[in-house]
């Protein structure tokens, strides 16, 4: 099918298009020049509407063993929120904070998002993650393997054998179809295996290893640079969820600053920074460390951030930071799940509710927004909710409205804990994001930091992933009329995925599947051979499955999109 999207206000930051009236042409799943369309092209009248690339989410827990563990332990999350099947059009599903796979795909697409990455998968169970990703309709996707407590990584780093560490990661990414290096409370899973690791700091020693979290972060950052992976190391900092932890966050960012080679692109991505942006020395004295973090980011180009913005209401917290979930189990007694994965990682899950009148929750809500509003460069800040930890991804339109409208924020100011509100600079900030900046943080910058060259823009040759919203930027003052923005962003007027119209008037039109991205770093043969032999020798001792059954074949996934990467490794 060919389409001509006519007369829309086009927002395409990667091509410097700032809301100009333009036509966008779609043919064979790609954006083409309008002159290439045949007479059969269908015209979409987008006059008075906004046209953007499809949304790109770099951090949302949508698939894998812990997500399903969350679903299993929370039937109550599914009773009231469900989607009916429309025979022949869409499948059914259920769940609010831990929705089933079809619901995830449909709800993202309804908001105009078309690419989403799962940011934490245990390598041993990544076959499971891919099975779930395969069953998420419409979206393109990928996943980040957890590597900070992987025994091979720890051994190589302990021996300062960075070449082999990088070669191992290169092999692993290809073997289990991963996309980027994920670090969660570096080294914590090894400590948690001994029932330790609560409040692990950047310079503490990891049990059984002569290593500190700092060395793990630096080592993996070096490996990432050697492999030249498209995405920087994706780091959940130590001491997440503890008052005073903004210092750890600053230290973690600074721990790799000397590795930055004056390039424009970040070499470390700090994820859900709200959870590691706390000043104060107890819950009673909690305050925002957001200003300090924003100041650092404004002065250092090697860092990018995503928010983990709190949205008031029910959530399901789930993270590979198992000791923190154990702590949260005490703060919010009730259900608690935890799983250890041999030789690699661990995880925990606790249901939680953020309350407006709660002092701590109010401070948390302020921190995310404060950081987003104080960081000047929109290319290095991402408005995530760390779905489903700080809020479900379906709250994105609301989060964006808070960024776009001081009035929207003021409305919340009236409802939240007064004392909590004074613990950050948020009330003093007047900045409001414009629609162009919103386009950057929700699409263009995501595609850029993931290194997806055909995503996040509408230039000729880009993937035809397009969102059209019923919003007239010439008529609407988002600062005042943010509710209209929320309404339009909740249900896109149209969403196109790979040139197919999948959403119209906010409703799903068809069930189809996207592709799974993974990286294939080119590791020199002799080095690869040495490392694989090394892994094989110890695999039998360390793992309960055989090496050969660990590797995932391309044919096991519905549709793969391998990204070849030239590394700097030498044989």
């Amino acid at each position: 099918m060919e389409y001509l999207i006519k007369n829309g206000y086009v927002y395409d930051p990667l091509n410097n298009v700032k809301g100009e009236k333009m036509d966008i042409a779609i043919k064979n799943g790609k954006i083409v020049s309008p002159s290439e369309l045949s007479g059969d092209a269908k015209t979409i009248d987008a006059s008075g509407m906004v046209v953007m690339p499809g949304g790109v989410d770099i951090h949302s827990h949508i698939a894998g063993p812990k997500v399903s563990a969350g679903r299993i332990m929370r039937p109550e999350d599914h009773y009231k929120v469900y989607m009916r099947a429309i025979p022949g059009v869409r499948r059914s599903g259920s769940g609010k904070t831990t929705p089933s796979t079809y619901v995830i795909g449909y709800k993202y697409a309804r908001m105009g998002w078309t690419t989403v990455f799962e940011p934490a998968t245990p390598p041993l169970e990544t076959r499971h993650t891919h099975e779930e990703l395969d069953d998420i309709p419409i979206l393109d996707k990928g996943c980040f393997p957890l590597l900070d407590s992987n025994w091979f990584v720890l051994e190589y780093l302990q021996n300062k054998d960075y070449d082999r560490c990088a070669a191992f990661i290169g092999w692993l990414m290809d073997a289990i179809k991963g996309y980027a290096i994920k670090i969660v409370d570096p080294g914590v899973a090894e400590a948690w295996s001994l029932g330790m690791g609560v409040g692990l700091s950047l310079d503490d020693q990891i049990p059984n290893y002569n290593l500190t979290p700092r060395e793990i972060v630096r080592g993996l950052c070096k490996a990432n640079q050697m492999l030249k992976l498209p995405h920087p190391i994706h780091v959940h900092c130590n001491r997440l969820g503890f008052p005073g932890n903004y210092v750890s966050t600053l230290d973690t960012m600074d721990a790799v600053s000397d590795l930055a080679l004056n390039q424009d692109t970040p070499i470390i991505h700090i994820t859900h920074v709200q959870f590691t942006g706390y000043a104060g020395d107890s819950w009673a004295t909690l305050a925002s460390g957001g200003e300090e973090i924003a100041k650092y980011v404004n002065n250092h180009k090697h860092v990018s951030l995503d928010l983990g913005q709190i949205v008031f209401g029910d959530v399901t917290t789930m993270t590979a930071d198992a000791p923190f979930e154990f702590v949260l189990h005490h703060l919010a007694p009730g259900k608690w799940s935890s799983t250890d994965v041999e030789a690699e990682t661990s995880s925990g899950i606790v249901p939680y509710r953020y309350k407006k009148k709660n002092f701590v929750n109010t401070v948390q809500w302020c921190i995310g927004l404060e950081v987003a509003l104080l960081v000047k460069d929109p290319w290095r800040i991402f408005p995530t909710t760390d779905h489903p930890n700080a809020g479900p991804f379906t709250s994105y339109p609301t989060v964006l409205a808070w960024l776009m409208s001081r009035k929207a924020r003021e409305k919340v100011f009236e409802q939240v804990n007064r004392r909590g509100l004074r613990k950050s600079a948020l009330q003093a900030i007047d900045r409001e994001y414009d629609l162009y900046e919103i386009t950057i943080i929700t699409r263009a910058a995501g595609a850029k930091i993931l290194g997806l060259k055909d995503k996040g823009h509408l230039g000729v040759g880009a993937d035809a992933d397009v969102a059209i919203y019923n919003l007239n930027p010439e008529k609407i003052d988002f600062s005042k009329d943010w509710e209209t923005f929320v309404k339009a962003f909740k249900r896109a007027a149209y969403t196109f995925k790979n040139g197919e119209m999948v959403v119209k008037d906010g409703e799903i039109l068809r069930h189809m599947y996207g592709e799974t991205y993974y990286v294939k770093p080119r590791v020199p043969e002799s080095l690869l051979k040495t490392v694989v032999e090394d892994v094989k020798t110890r695999f039998r001792e360390w793992y309960s499955i055989n090496f050969e059954n660990y590797v995932i074949g391309d044919d096991e996934l519905r549709a793969v999109k391998p990204i070849q990467v030239e590394t700097t490794l030498k044989g």
């Binding site: 059914s92 041993l124 076959r127 295996s193 935890s338």
Partner: protein, 574 residues
Amino acid sequence: MFTLITGRTLEQGRTMEIGKFTKDYMDRVAICEINPEDLKKIGVESGSNVKVKTAYGEVVVKAVSSNTTSPGVVFIPMGPWANMVVNPDTQGTGMPNLKGVPCQIEATGEAIPGIYDLLKKISDKTFEAKISKPEVAVSGRSETYSNVVCCFCGCVCDDLEVSVENGKIKSVKNGCAISMAKLLNYDRERAYKPMVRKNGKLVETSLEEALNEAAKILAEAKYPLIYGWSSTSNEAMRHGVYLAELTGGVVDNTSVSCHGPTILGTQQAGVVKATLGQIRNRADLIVYWGCNPVYAHPRHTVRYSAMAKGRFVKGRKERKIVVVDVRPTPTSKIADMFIQVKQGMDYELITALRMAVKDHTIEAPTVAGVPREKILELADMFRSARFGVIFLGMGLTMTSGKGRNLEEAIKLVQDLNEWTKFVLLAMRGHYNVTGTNEVIVWLTGYPYAVDFMLGYPRHNPGITTATDVLIRGDVDAALIVASDPASHFPRKAVEHLAKIPTIVIDPRWSPTASLADVFIPTRYVGIECEGVVYRMDGVPLRAKKLVDPPPEILSDEEVLGKLVEKVEALKLGR
């Protein structure tokens, strides 16, 4: 009056894999283990026939003297004979009372009924064995495969070595007794042609006709049951969920009658787990509670737990082993401590342990038949372990309390994490019961017993569970895939299954196949085709294809894919 318990045995598992229509199977399963003292009391000699009577039915089986069975308790291995007398009440959990049923036992001159005799008692359908001689694929390749993924129990061992000669499996290395029995005998009780019941008899037909008939049954049904799955791949399971959605039926897997209650416990409390490798590498205290891996998961102790050599804990000597069960088992023989709990009183014992762990005073001198001092000693062992694990079996899920037992066990482990590192793991039975639970949960939001009557997924154990919809007679058609409920569901459920149009898709002939109205033979996952399966701890593995399938036989996934198309055509008018 005795108390009847049922469960797995090694011989039950082994002979089942050779064939349920063999004399061997009947000899091992149509038995009742009774304490010698009790035998004397009722005046029955070991080896003679007895009639077991409960409020739910009666059955004739062979009495077998057993020292490990406590006085007052009798044991019948799970299977068609036990089903005649177990209590079908699921008490709102989906799990019938398969353990702890009051029964009477008397000497009888009656013969032990065969499987068909049992089926004839509950249905007027004609039953014929349709087993044919093995058909070997033409190609007849010869090859040796290593790293073979075993598709029998939840251990899913992936280190088998299988030699294939001329298209037939010749030898198996590293396998347990059950795995060898399966791999060397899988083609003994098979039917190779699709069949449809015509004028009361199953007659051979083409795949196309069988599929048409099956699609018609499903499309015309108001509320079909789509059940089984635990012995097939995740790929097949996906089709199963879709069929339930398309037909507005209910989809369920065999967890309803194994670890469904463990899931109910998890829904209440969460769960604290670890993969088997983590346990092997680190656990210095291993508790087997209500499970008997030496019989049911033969390589479990060697590969993953008691005897296994790990990175930090090197083997049996460095571990403490505790077994909690209602009677001594082969597993308790390898234990350092055996705790005999009174049948049906696990909940009390777990609660007492939770109290002891928290230093609360236990006033009763014994709890659930266990002396207070023993409970305190055990609590101390738990707290002083470096890394403890409790493996939970059907001794907890099938007995009274069901999901509550598991909830309490989970909370005990959660409590213990205040002191030390402690995890638990359910000993899942079928090789892919874990995987199919996962597929159902990620597609619908609920892990089993999912109803689509209103066009979206709903889950209400006790209402939407396979056992209950059959026992109550709610469903008006059934699709049974890779499972044999006629052998493992209570009599009342099987009676209704025999009444309604039933489609059976299975690699082998089974009692359930015997009562089918449409039967479609398929390939064995892990022998004749590939497929993704999940181990009991959730580690996903890809099963291999070892031999070529018999001619014209497709996989479950392929057959179900075709069935989906046909049901879609009828339902959506495509």
